[in-house]
């Protein structure tokens, strides 16, 4: 069984919402990414999304754009990221998803990527600039290796689109909670609950919500209605602010622990 399915199954039994932190691989270097991954697992993260840096990150705001620049300047490549995952896998059970723009994996070769990523211990893949109708080749390669493909639903998605994306997504569905690019926001959408209810009519698959969620209060709100909460830019921003500090990993870990606690708090309120 894919680690992602296994994790969501266990969380559902426990009545808990998944915390899914995001890291840009290689920001500031791959050794730090590796240390952060292990720390996040220890501090309560349920899954981890690892961003493959790209020169032209269209769906990302300035925080992750800068992180991608730093990672690329440091020589981070897809091959080295897969090598890092292989190393981590021996001591880490966290379900790992790569988030990559289409071109780096297209250039690597979809079939070769699916094979090598799975062998390294990657469980899922998110490609923000590849909609399911253009992803046939990738989905086929991923399915044959047991790699889950997660597609993005936008607030503008029609009912037909919800069905199409739900059908193409494996593991969970990524709901983009706002119109725009990644980056911390002061408030999250009011109609989130209504939209999620609409999506749940169409699918039983777990629903994780991301984009713009940046603090425990927002996590608590989203966790009431979603199966997973994705926090990216707020973590990347913390790493940027604390770059060079000796306890960077611990500070990031503290933040992740506070986010995880918020997912549990909301469950408590629900009872």
């Amino acid at each position: 069984m894919n680690r992602i399915d296994e994790r969501f199954r266990r969380l559902k039994e426990a009545g808990e919402c998944a915390l899914i932190p995001y890291l840009t691989a290689g920001d500031p270097d791959l050794a730090t990414t590796q240390a952060l991954t292990l720390e996040f697992e220890r501090r309560g993260a349920d899954l981890l999304e690892i961003g493959v840096p790209f020169s032209d990150p269209l769906a990302d705001g300035v925080t992750i754009q800068r992180a991608s620049q730093r990672a690329l300047l440091g020589g981070t490549t897809l091959t080295r990221i897969l090598e890092m995952v292989r190393v981590i896998r021996s001591s880490c059970d966290l379900p790992l998803l790569l988030m990559s723009y289409a071109n780096p994996i297209f250039h690597f070769g979809f079939a070769r990527f699916a094979k090598e990523a799975t062998a390294a211990g990657v469980d899922g893949l998110i490609v923000p600039d590849l909609p399911p109708e253009e992803a046939f080749e990738l989905i086929e390669a991923a399915v044959s290796h047991g790699l889950h493909t997660v597609f993005l639903l936008a607030p503008t998605s029609s009912r037909e689109r919800v069905q199409k994306i739900a059908a193409a997504s494996r593991g969970f569905i990524y709901y983009v909670s706002l119109r725009g690019v990644t980056g911390a926001r002061s408030s999250i959408s009011d109609d989130l609950e209504a939209t999620i209810r609409m999506i749940r009519v169409e699918t039983d698959k777990p629903l994780a919500v991301g984009f713009g969620i940046s603090n425990p209060a927002q996590v608590r709100m989203v966790a009431r209605v979603a199966d997973g909460v994705i926090v990216g830019s707020a973590i990347v921003s913390l790493l940027e602010r604390n770059g060079g500090s000796g306890d960077l990993v611990k500070r990031a870990g503290d933040f992740v622990a506070s986010l995880k606690a918020a997912t549990r708090a909301s469950q408590g309120e629900g009872h």
Binding site: L58, D129, P131, R179
Partner: protein, 382 residues
């Protein structure tokens, strides 16, 4: 995706609507100034001593380039969609000016994204956009050129999708843009056909146009694709030379890739990261090319060559001196290739070059480059 699907529907509906057609025709005639002339370049022909050279005078369009053929079509669609705001990317500034112009004409809010490197080298067009009431938003990311402006425009579009239409300026991006922009630009080729038949009683032997994203070239070529006797040549930016690695000749060293929602030839490194490009001409300085060009290239229907910065500057000067026409540096790349091509052809053969824009915007850059070295062949980086 939803916005793209909506746009396609609105466009296809408009295309089938005779009212839209007549509205377009009216504005193209009375506002843009179409049809643009097909001009026989007598002295250039004599100078090169080969084929008869005609210039399709898109430089005479209102705003000084072919770009307005497309922005006019898209602004009329924007009105049909009822959106109050338009955004655009721009490289050379011609598309930005053309968007700001139609936005002013129809009273819509307009913001244009432009790389700061391009703002520097096309400063005149920045002033023009501001005079037209548009806001020019500087883009500092990446190479600070066209590619980065498109990234930023796309980010804005997904954020403001309810109120905003993105007037993409070339045959790039996701469907329906490449098709729609091509359709709006194909008026160039349709006019050329009629004008050529009137002038010479036959169709041309060669069509030559510069290729950045590829809208002026596909605009000229599209109507002739089914004429097997006509050869078509797209001229890319050779920058400092293909061997230097500093160019924007996608078909010379690029590979298939995915950028800005479309699969086409892309200049990229061995990890699939998009490479920075170089050209003296901001309008050709882009690492990918319209997907339809890749298609016709693979079919062998259109040939692609490149002209270097230095060759383009020489052609820029030559056309100015021989014909009294100062071409855009982009269009000068097409003229540069004709300098090589025409002398190899018979005197009864006919070449049509798309003079896609005028060069007022480039005089400062050209003066600096030509003046500094005193010899265009010595010209280096801008």
């Amino acid at each position: 995706m939803a916005a793209l699907a909506d746009l396609e529907q609105v466009y296809l509906k408009a295309k089938a609507d005779p009212n839209f057609e007549s509205e377009m025709r009216g504005y193209l005639r009375n506002y843009v100034g179409r049809p643009t002339p097909l001009y026989f370049a007598e002295r250039l022909t004599e100078h090169l001593g080969g084929a008869r050279i005609y210039l399709k005078r898109e430089d005479l369009c209102h705003t000084g380039a072919h770009k307005i053929n497309n922005t006019l079509g898209q602004i009329l669609l924007t009105r049909r969609m009822g959106k109050p705001r338009v955004i655009a990317e721009t490289g050379a500034g011609q598309h930005g000016v053309a968007t700001a112009t139609v936005a002013a004409r129809f009273g819509l809010v307009c913001e244009v994204f432009m790389g700061t490197e391009d703002m520097r080298r096309q400063a005149l067009n920045v002033v023009r956009m501001r005079l037209l009431g548009a806001k020019v938003i500087p883009v500092e990311a990446g190479s600070r050129t066209l590619k980065d402006a498109i990234n930023e425009a796309m980010r804005d579009w997904v954020t403001n999708i309810d109120t905003t239409h993105y007037i993409l300026g070339s045959v790039l991006g996701a469907h329906p843009y490449p098709m729609m922009v091509r359709d709006f630009q194909s008026v160039i080729g349709r006019e050329t056909r009629d004008q050529m038949l009137e002038a010479e009683g036959r169709l041309p032997d060669y069509l030559v146009a510069c290729v950045g994203g590829g809208s002026n070239s596909i605009g000229l070529f599209f109507d002739f694709l089914d004429e097997p006797s006509i050869r078509m040549i797209g001229v890319e930016a050779g920058g400092l030379g293909i061997g230097s690695g500093r160019h924007a000749a996608r078909f010379a060293t690029g590979e298939l890739g995915i950028l800005h929602g479309t699969m086409s030839f892309v200049l990229q490194d061995s990890d699939g990261q998009i490479q920075t490009t170089h050209s003296v001409s901001a309008g050709l300085d882009y690492p990918s090319v319209g997907p339809e060009h890749s298609y016709y290239r693979d079919l062998g229907r259109i040939d692609y060559v490149s002209a270097t910065d230095a060759e383009a500057l020489e052609a820029f000067q030559l056309l100015s001196e021989l014909e009294g026409l100062i071409p855009a540096l982009e269009s000068a790349h097409a003229v540069a290739h004709v300098r090589k091509l025409a002398p190899t052809l018979e005197r009864n053969q006919i070449v049509v070059v798309n003079l896609s824009g005028r060069g007022d915007k480039d005089v400062e850059v050209a003066a600096t480059l030509l003046g500094r070295s005193g010899d265009a062949s010595q010209v280096g980086e801008g």
